[in-house]
């Protein structure tokens, strides 16, 4: 009797296991299409979504560009899904490119909210803005990318990424849309003549709209300020060419009399690669520090005027300003912010030359 009961329970639990699992929805990996890049633009009232899908085939990698339109983004994706022979899921999307036109019209917020909501797209997905027509951008991409999966590699740290390119994730953008104290910078790309992608700079955003732009050199400083590695960046100056091999940043905010003061230290480790004439290390150091500081000051002034806080300086004052007043950070406090930036340079290596002038 006991044995029968055990058998009965076993069968019952197995019966329960099957309907609870949902395993009939499983689609094998070879019956799925993995789009890796998504382009979004607007055609009239409708969203237009472009997906770059690598097609697995023997030997060479092929790419397909598929388009769909719909009143919402997911409707457009559904449009694509209906017409594809394999199931399309957005799990592997690595980069989402917004058409500049769409961004300038302020239409970024809605798609970003959708992406955060549906959970199918990783919040680590990169966001970029396309500086020219997105259709032609994707077509050029397809032509250039027959060999691999490379729009993503362009932003990949172990592949094509350089410190002049800012990396912005989906959650950064979402945070910026909802934060009182932080804005976001989104890299801008367009199709290049020789290479697949050309980087044109970084768009500085405010409430989902482009208000300013950083050139690659400024983006470098922006990255350095956030502690991203500047490693390998070559800086050409009047008297020397140096390479930055390491950087650290330290920031401290203070609020005195309703005026925010910011004390920042950026330490750079550099290697001298080329020297013009007989200049000492001290001069090179000074020159580098001056170049960097001037560049930073120029940037900050510009952003303060436009009331956009891409550096996220407001983050350092969140515990110093009452919460009710935080929403006025950009208007009331940020324009008055005083920045004290100190750049420390350590020259690590001067190369194999012996006759070094040190005065």
């Amino acid at each position: 009797m006991r044995r029968i009961m055990i058998c009965f329970k076993l069968v019952l639990s197995l019966c329960i296991l099957m309907p609870l699992s949902g395993c009939w929805d499983i689609k094998d990996i070879n019956h799925r299409a993995f789009p890796i890049a998504m382009g979004i633009t607007k055609e009239g009232e409708k969203f237009k979504v472009l997906l770059q899908i690598p097609i697995s085939s023997e030997g060479v990698q092929k790419q397909a560009i598929v388009k769909g339109t719909g009143l919402t983004i997911l409707k457009a994706v559904e449009d694509i899904r209906t017409n594809m022979e394999s199931s399309v899921d957005l799990l592997h999307i690595r980069i989402i490119i917004f058409d500049r036109k769409l961004v300038e019209e302020g239409g970024m917020e809605e798609p970003i909210n959708t992406f955060m909501r549906i959970r199918e797209i990783s919040s680590k997905t990169l966001i970029a803005i396309c500086d020219d027509n997105i259709d032609s951008f994707f077509l050029a991409l397809k032509k250039n990318l027959e060999k691999g999966i490379n729009l993503y590699d362009f932003f990949e740290k172990y592949a094509g990424w350089t410190p002049q390119i800012s990396l912005t994730r989906l959650w950064h953008v979402y945070r910026a849309l909802n934060s009182y104290t932080q804005n976001v910078a989104i890299p801008m790309v367009k199709s290049g003549e020789n290479t697949a992608v050309t980087y044109t700079g970084t768009a500085v955003m405010k409430r989902g709209k482009i208000v300013s732009k950083m050139d690659p050199k400024e983006t470098l400083l922006f990255n350095a300020f956030h502690g991203n590695s500047m490693k390998g960046r070559v800086e050409v100056m009047e008297h020397a060419t140096i390479m930055i091999v390491g950087n650290t940043g330290f920031h401290k905010g203070e609020l005195r009399n309703h005026i925010p003061y910011m004390f920042s230290t950026i330490r750079l480790n550099v290697v001298i690669q080329e020297r013009r004439g007989k200049v000492s290390n001290a001069i090179i150091k000074k020159e580098l520090e001056k170049v960097m500081a001037n560049r930073f000051d120029g940037m900050l002034k510009r952003f303060q005027k436009q009331e956009t806080d891409v550096f996220g300086l407001g983050q350092y004052y969140r515990n110093k300003i009452p919460y009710e007043e935080l929403k006025d950070w950009r208007k009331k406090y940020y324009p008055n912010l005083e920045m004290k930036l100190t750049i420390h340079t350590t020259i690590q290596n001067e190369g194999n030359l012996k006759n070094i002038i040190d005065k």
Partner: protein
Amino acid sequence: MNSIIVEINEAFKDAEDFFIEPFSLDGEAVLLLGLHSIVNLIKTKEILKKDMDTSEVNHSIKVKRTFFNRKGVEINSEEAIESILQGKLIVYSKEKNIMLLFEPLPKELNRSIQPPANENVLQGPLDSFIEDMSTNIGIVRKKVSSAHLSVKTYTVGSDQKKKLSIVYLDDRADKGVIKKIISHIEMNQHTNILYLQDLCRFMGVRKWEVIPQYNNTEMPLEAVDGLNKGRVIIFVDGFPFALILPHLLWDMFAQANDRNYAYPIMSAIRFLRVVGALITLIFPALYVALVAVNPEILKIELALSIAQSREGIPYPPFVEITIMLLILELIIEASIRLPLSIGPTVTMVGGIVIGQAVVDAKLVSNLLIIIVAATSIANSSVVGFQNALILRLLKYVVVIFASIYGVLGILSGLVFISAYFASREIFGIPYTSLTKGRGGIG
């Protein structure tokens, strides 16, 4: 003829190897009774004669000393039959109508001590246990020359008697475990032990227990190591290995011979075995989970190449991997069963021909072949065949979970297995215990 002799003769009427041999001892006509197949009759007679011939003293005294004064002299017919079966010689004196027991020269039925056949030793002692129990105990005695070594022998079984010895160091072994074992033996003295399964039942182990209760080893080094850790060894006559008891989880990864190497090397080898066990459990399941349920975990490059290798394969991964694992199990079973000369052919046919053909025929993917191969190699890295067997079995549990719940299923499968392991006790010692706390069992 005496009725007792008739009775014995009747009992052995179908045994051609039974003999009743007339013989004269000291001028006294006697009958020798025994079994040809286990008694070396000619040599035994020679010894008897030689004993008497060289003797200067009165023959009758000599003979008396040799036979008639032995302990437990008189026996009845039932005892006689039993003794004959155990390889004893019966001397029956017609005049006095008594039967006497004599220990004859046995026929050499045991092989000599050889290197272990099923366990490989790398730079360690090369002896192994044989079928004869007393030889095995002798080997252990030689390695542990300690006065604390206790050997207790029992004869169990109702119609088929079997000798059983438990060996332990009485200053180290857990008293509770020994007490339990002895009480089990005493309680079940009339159960026949033909196989180790019987021994397990006899020791009160549940029928559906997956975990092996004994660590059976051919190597005296392992057995002695067990003794020194306070474990108990059981020898069963006729089985060429020692059963070390209790068997714990860590025995899957640690071998006594490892200690013949430097400490860092020993640690590395053991770590490797742990990794091997995990690979066995996880790899096939991971394939199923990643390919069918959770492809989003894969890096896009990997996802694409896997998708490409699975292009055109009709079965879902679960079926695919079940087919391949089944073929693999068949290969393993076949190569154990077949003679050594055919074994390699099976390996070749199974490995190369089927492996290659099955990919070409698009029945399974390339990647799966790699996974299956890696699994079977990793499976063999754990110590002890019985441990490899449980891993072989348990990996299917994880595969089934993975095919339903994906990566989460792997985790729950492993949790399930861990919980199962943790719930087991062997003679009161938790299977997963590692510490040396309880009488130094670990």
